[in-house]
């Protein structure tokens, strides 16, 4: 019989030791993530096999067989189709994109005036980059220039008709210019408007609350296509003859209000996640309603819903394509319009054009997505244990 001793005292505290070999490092990562079990190994092999099968074809089409420059359709067509490529050739026709690049960027904006949208683009980058970098000082001034200054300057630059600039009507705008300007304004308008609507929906004042609920639910209940179509086709019927307002402006208002309704619901989700104690903490210090919202509630609520906000931004950015329905030509619209150019009609044109348009959309959306992830990490002061 062994005696069980109840009394024991540690004489020396145990020291921290390095982790045993095989727990960290590359081989451990492979073992844990790729070949942990038979099932995992099979899936890994299938995955690699798929990549090996598909990737070379894509690279071949998009890069190796691709035609990068050329004057017209002949460079992208096979001999049988009246071109110079051998029979059975298949490759991307980047020459088409190359030739139409100006249109894809600016639509039918007069060529000799294109420096104006280019200047706006440069201003946008110059103001946007420091805004997105947290370490650059003077954020208030920067935001003011970006959100108020830039739209005003851009308006005069793009529309013209003042300061000796030739007037360019918005019907001639197109391509990336329309896509970016619509989304920029929609983003800048929808976030603050959405915040106000979300606060209004949670307000204790019944009239304010009811108006916000009606607006949000009405707009969310209608497809964007309908909103745009109604703004474009129906609205002129109700306006007195002679009174018109610009189609581009109507689309701008439609998209912005539409986005604001969605934004309001995203923000409301964040507001609901803020514990009551935060409101009470702010109240007990004597902070007023707007101070409480601005300093305490909104910073936390918006941080929580960054993925939702950016999701709405991305959705809105892509939804601007729907302005095609009111015969405005955004990036996608202008690419599609150029398919009908007989000078460039080949079997590869549509594919190449659409893939290019998709790539440009993806570039912007991916950028927004990555930036939002970065911001989430940067603002994470929760220090959850």
């Amino acid at each position: 019989m062994q005696e069980h001793d109840m009394s024991w005292v540690r004489t020396e505290m145990a020291l921290a030791q390095p982790a045993p070999a095989g727990v960290t490092g590359f081989s451990a990562w492979v073992r844990k993530n790729l070949i942990a079990s038979t099932g995992d190994t099979i899936l890994t092999i299938i995955g690699f096999a798929l990549v090996v099968m598909i990737l070379p074809q894509i690279i071949n089409w998009a890069f190796i067989n691709a035609v990068w420059t050329g004057p017209n359709r002949t460079v992208c067509a096979t001999v049988a189709q009246g071109g110079i490529q051998p029979d059975g050739w298949s490759g991307a026709c980047w020459a088409f994109v190359n030739a139409k690049f100006g249109q894809i960027m600016f639509g039918t904006y007069p060529v000799e005036e294109r420096w104006r949208p280019i200047l706006v683009g440069i201003l946008l980058v110059v103001l946007m980059v420091p805004m997105l970098m947290p370490s650059v000082p003077r954020k208030g001034l920067n935001a003011l220039l970006l959100i108020v200054g830039l739209p005003i300057v851009s308006f005069f630059l793009l529309v013209g008709g003042a300061f000796g600039l030739e007037h360019v009507e918005t019907a001639r705008w197109g391509g990336l210019l329309v896509t970016l300007s619509l989304s920029f304004v929609a983003i800048v308008v929808s976030l603050p408007l959405g915040i106000m609507l979300a606060l209004g929906r949670r307000s204790r004042m019944p009239v304010v609350k009811m108006l916000c609920v009606i607006f949000i639910e009405a707009v969310r209940g209608i497809p964007l296509i309908t909103v745009l179509f109604m703004a474009s086709v129906m609205l002129p019927l109700f306006l007195p003859p002679g009174v018109t307002f610009d189609k581009y402006l109507r689309a701008l208002i439609g998209v912005s209000l539409f986005a604001a309704a969605y934004m309001a619901e995203v923000v409301r989700g964040g507001l609901q996640a803020i514990p009551k104690g935060q409101y009470e903490g702010a109240d007990s210090l004597g902070l007023g309603y707007w101070q409480k919202m601005y300093f305490i509630v909104m910073p936390q609520a918006l941080k929580l819903v960054i993925p939702g906000i950016v999701n709405t931004f991305i959705g809105m950015f892509k939804d601007t394509s729907l302005v095609t329905i009111i015969s405005m030509f955004d990036l996608l619209g202008i690419v599609k319009q150029n398919f009908s150019d007989a000078n460039w009609a080949t079997a590869q044109t549509a594919k190449s054009g659409l893939i290019f348009a998709a790539f440009v959309f993806w570039l912007f959306c991916f950028g927004m997505s990555r930036y939002s992830m970065y911001t989430e990490r940067r603002l994470d002061t929760g220090h959850k244990r």
Binding site: G277, E280, S284, G286, F295, H383
Partner: protein, 267 residues
Amino acid sequence: MATENAVSAEEIKVNAAKMHISDTDVAIDIVAMHKWYGEFHVLKDINLRVMRGERIVICGPSGSGKSTMIRCINRLEEHQKGKIIVDGKELTNDLKKIDEVRREVGMVFQHFNLFPHLTILENCTLAPIWVRKTPKKQAEEIAMHFLKRVKIPEQANKYPGQLSGGQQQRVAIARSLCMNPRIMLFDEPTSALDPEMIKEVLETMVGLAEEGMTMLCVTHEMGFARKVANRVIFMDQGQIVEQNTPAEFFDHPRHERTKLFLSQILH
């Protein structure tokens, strides 16, 4: 309505005459206050007068309305009947008055309610800067002064999530003190803390009491009550059942409910 007001105003005058005190000595005056949550009558006929510099401990079983009562004092809860006069200002729906009262009344919560997205220093300077309009630099000096007093100046640039519960609660006390309040309310300040951290918070509160702060404290720390309170109030079922000096309250409770409560918590 009119007669009711007249009666309660009369009552105040009579009470003041009886006790031979001037109004300026009264910090909080609660007269015949009632509160309902919907149909549920949570607070019934609360009458409580707190003098300047008084330290009152409120205890009672859970659900007895202790927290609700002190939350009425800075209008985190609304009362439906009777009067609450804080620092000479009656609490009504007048938002300006409410903000005035809240500026003078500090509150410490069970779950600290620090702002997790702001540093400790920012937590302490936010209200002085934006409510009291103190210049930023001066507000920071005041904040550091109080952070030193609660013995955590070295944590000023950390975030609340990086601090222990006891440290967070001391920051919450410092945050309230930065507003230079005339009255402090404590709503179970040690109930959410680990046993090892209760002492550091209580010591801070004792220090505050010794400096003559008017304090209302909902707590189950009977040692604290005996040591610093002038008066202990016992609540049950939404009403004040008994009040007395701590010595009398603990040694000679008079109401049956008080006796039962004390026998449950003092072993």
